[in-house]
């Protein structure tokens, strides 16, 4: 019955409009994927895939993406699309570095980065909320302006002080903290390469050691965002502006103010990502160091179905694959095998549901991947670099149809037009 429905609704591919992804299913799926990963690691011997170093690298690379994604979430939950996150992040890197150097403290970088990004957010809010400019257009303009302002200010602020147009002098970083003794305890277990046990040890070591304060703060932003947006009246008001601003208006919600707040917070989050890049991920401001992470944050947010938990999963996936490709070429090669297994499982599911065509195509792809895996010893370096982007695209094309964005996302709202 539902099969018939599915096919008529999406005639092109007969996609599955399955049940909604709640957090329980999410956990089960994550656990399953992790097990599969352990299996692949054991079979291929690409032991770095679940090592502690890989995990902490994944965290480092996931955080700017995740923060940008949170920025996107805040704005879009209030109905404003923010493609200007990249520009706001760039502002965050500059102002983070500038404040950090001025006050000689990484905490100043945090404040500075947030403020810098929030200013970018303010511009976006003025354009989209007050003047009703198309959100994407304003975002694109802000990306250009952000880059220009940062360059200009870098010339002024850093030239002659050990930096220049494209970089700042070295910036003091945060101290790292962690649970003492974990490395000593877990390292030996990891090096045994036992199935699952060593993997869990690696995972644990990755998340308990070598963390900076900003890392912890950034991670906390995820539950904090959830609490604020879903458990406070402020959050309810904010979300109502993304679902039905006119209804919100009739109930006395000041929609403009909410949207302003959301977009400014959004910019602040992106700015924090910038500060993170400057102080934790590296310890310097470099032009272009954001490297498109703002856009990828947006993708993570969409991947996460406009929810903090899903977004964190998306950012982690990106960070994980990025760390994978950055660290060891062999890991990416093993990833081929992982994807092949995954496709086999999906195809089996499709075949079981009697979707012969999709199942067949899936199996064919899986066979190709396996053949590629066994015939090669490595994936071309040029393509390895873009593993995360390919992954994002693949995952989105599998998942996009289950997603639901806020009903009034991107819709231009004007006060007093309701009724």
């Amino acid at each position: 019955m539902s099969t018939a429905t599915d096919i008529t609704l999406a005639p092109s591919l007969g996609a599955t409009a399955g049940p909604k992804l709640d957090w329980r299913r999410g956990l089960i799926i994550t656990g399953g994927l992790f097990l599969l990963l352990c299996l692949v690691r054991t079979l291929t011997g690409a032991d770095d895939i679940t090592s502690g170093g890989q995990i902490s690298a994944a965290i480092t690379l996931a955080i700017p993406v995740g923060l940008a994604g949170l920025g996107g979430l805040w704005a879009e939950r209030a109905g404003v699309v923010n493609i200007g996150l990249e520009g706001m992040m760039i502002l965050g890197t500059w102002s983070g570095a500038y404040f950090c150097l001025a006050f000689n403290s990484p905490w100043a970088a945090l404040v500075g980065g947030v403020v810098g990004g929030a200013l970018g957010g303010l511009v976006h809010a003025i354009a989209t909320v007050t003047f009703g400019v198309d959100h994407i257009i304003s975002g694109v303009a802000i990306n250009i302006i952000g880059q220009g302002v940062a360059r200009y200010l870098a010339v002024i602020a850093f030239t002659g002080k050990g930096g220049g147009a494209t970089q700042s002098p070295p910036v003091p970083g945060f101290d790292t903290i962690g649970i003492p003794g974990m490395t000593g305890l877990l390292r030996p277990i990891e090096s045994k390469h036992w199935f699952l046990i060593s993997d869990l040890a690696g995972l644990l070591r990755g998340v308990t050691t070598g963390l900076s304060w900003l890392t912890i703060i950034a991670i906390l932003m995820v539950p904090l965002t959830f609490l604020v947006l879903w458990r406070t009246s402020f959050g309810l008001r904010l979300r109502s502006c993304g679902e039905n601003p006119i209804a919100a208006e009739t109930l006395g919600v000041n929609v403009y103010r909410m949207k302003y707040a959301a977009v400014i917070v959004s910019g602040g989050m992106a700015g924090m990502a910038g500060a993170f890049l400057v102080t934790v991920a590296s310890s310097i401001y470099r032009e272009g160091q954001t490297g498109g992470r703002g856009y990828i944050g947006l993708a993570a947010m969409i991947f996460g179905n406009w929810r903090p938990g899903g977004l964190a999963a998306g950012a982690t996936l990106f960070g994980f694959t990025d760390a994978l490709q950055s660290r060891q070429n062999s890991s990416v090669h093993a990833l081929l095998f992982f994807v092949a297994l995954l496709v086999v499982l999906l195809s089996a599911w499709n075949l079981w549901r009697r979707r012969w065509l999709q199942g067949g195509i899936g199996l064919f792809i899986a066979v190709l991947l396996v053949v590629w895996f066994f015939l090669s010893t490595t994936v071309p370096q040029e393509l390895i670099t873009y593993t995360p982007h390919i992954t994002t695209l693949l995952v989105l094309s599998l998942a996009a149809q289950r997603l639901r964005m806020p009903a009034a996302d991107g819709v231009i709202y004007r006060r007093g037009q309701g009724g």
Binding site: A127, V140, I144, E382, G416
Partner: protein
């Protein structure tokens, strides 16, 4: 004629206003950082007006124009092709490979090169189109990812032993140099300089005219605009939005495929490491400036290229030339804001006119605001 002028006037006014506003903002930034705005602008204008500079400005504008056109056709139906950048780079790379490796007689060679570029650009953007119509993936995200992936593909091809050659001792690497029979000669249009104008300016002009006719005069263009103005109304009128999306995305990519050609066939003759990058993003900004209209885009492209070129002189005078990036960004933002304001005012004025028509007996209050 006057009616047409009346229709265009608000838009023009908005553009001028926005330009002035962004110049004011730029001046403020300059003043704050201790430079003399008038001096800076004076220098820029006098340098920008030299024959050499004019030739360079036109050449850059040709490229920008094509890029903006590619973006604009998507914008007309609310399709955001952020991937022009990847599309043109990949297209130029493949076209350079074909032109460099396959010797063909003149004319045929150029035609084949252009065709290849157009095809590659269209195919690459078609992926995003296909993902959108079949899988519902937002084209904004997919084109951004495809930009990155295109970089990987270009890098893969641009290696020794694949499609690239490297001159002895050189630190550069590129596709084989296109033989003279495959090039497009420059046109000595600007007196007083030996810098020629890209011969492919003709391609740009043709593309612009074609765009205008296609979008504003053809049935296809009507469907396209209708979809952009109201997808739901377009569907009800019989437009297949999926087909339109895919087609428009492909056309946009095909236009994007042309972006690298003037440079490739008119100046560098090879796709090498220093082939210009990032033109797709410039195109977005210029499409916005030009309001998705070829004439507007042409002006926008010239303005952008003028700022690029004339800013070179600033460094010579100790003013950071990065200031023009701020100008460029603010002018885009100001222009879109100004257009929006003008659009609202025009609509309100029209409603008022309709009201007068309908109820001449009721006094109409001018300036009553909602």
């Amino acid at each position: 004629m006057t009616a047409a002028l009346k229709r265009l006037l608000p838009g023009l006014l908005a553009a001028v206003l926005a330009l002035v506003l962004s110049l004011i903002i730029t001046s403020l930034v300059l003043l704050v950082s201790g430079a003399q705005p008038l001096f800076a602008f004076g220098q820029m204008i006098s340098y920008g007006a030299q024959p050499d500079s004019i030739a360079n400005i036109i050449n850059n504008a040709v490229t920008y124009f094509l890029s903006a056109l590619a973006v604009a056709i998507g914008f007309r139906m609310k399709l955001f092709n952020i991937g022009v950048d990847g599309q043109y780079r990949l297209a130029a790379m493949v076209a350079a490979v074909v032109a460099g490796f396959v010797p063909l007689p003149p004319v045929l060679s150029q035609l084949v090169t252009i065709l290849v570029a157009v095809l590659v650009g269209g195919l690459w953007s078609g992926i995003a189109g296909l993902l959108k119509v079949t899988r519902g993936v937002s084209e904004v995200i997919s084109t951004i990812m495809l930009n990155f992936i295109a970089t990987g593909l270009v890098a893969y091809m641009l290696q020794r032993g694949r499609f690239a050659v490297q001159a002895a001792g050189s630190n550069n690497i590129g596709t084989p140099t296109i033989p003279p029979s495959g090039r497009v000669a420059g046109l000595p249009l600007i007196p007083g300089t030996n810098t020629t104008i890209f011969g492919l300016i003709i391609l740009a002009v043709l593309a612009g005219v074609g765009y205008q006719i296609l979008v504003n005069r053809s049935r296809f263009g009507f469907d396209l605009r209708a979809t952009g103005l109201s997808a739901s109304a377009a569907v009800a009128s019989g437009v297949s939005v999926k087909r339109m999306t895919l087609t428009t995305m492909i056309i946009s990519g095909a236009l994007a495929g042309m972006v690298g050609l003037p440079q490739l066939l008119g100046a560098s003759y090879t796709y090498s490491l220093d082939f210009p990058a990032g033109l797709g993003f410039t195109g977005i900004a210029i499409a916005l400036l030009g309001r998705n209209n070829p004439i507007g885009i042409a002006f926008g492209a010239l303005l952008w290229a003028f700022l690029d070129q004339s800013s070179l002189i600033l460094d010579l005078n100790g003013i950071p030339k990065e200031i023009v990036i701020i100008t460029q960004g603010t002018v885009v933002l100001c222009v879109v804001i100004a257009y929006e304001v003008v659009r609202r005012l025009t609509l309100r004025q029209q409603q008022r006119a309709v009201g007068r028509e309908l109820a001449t007996d009721v006094p109409v209050a001018e300036g009553a605001a909602a």
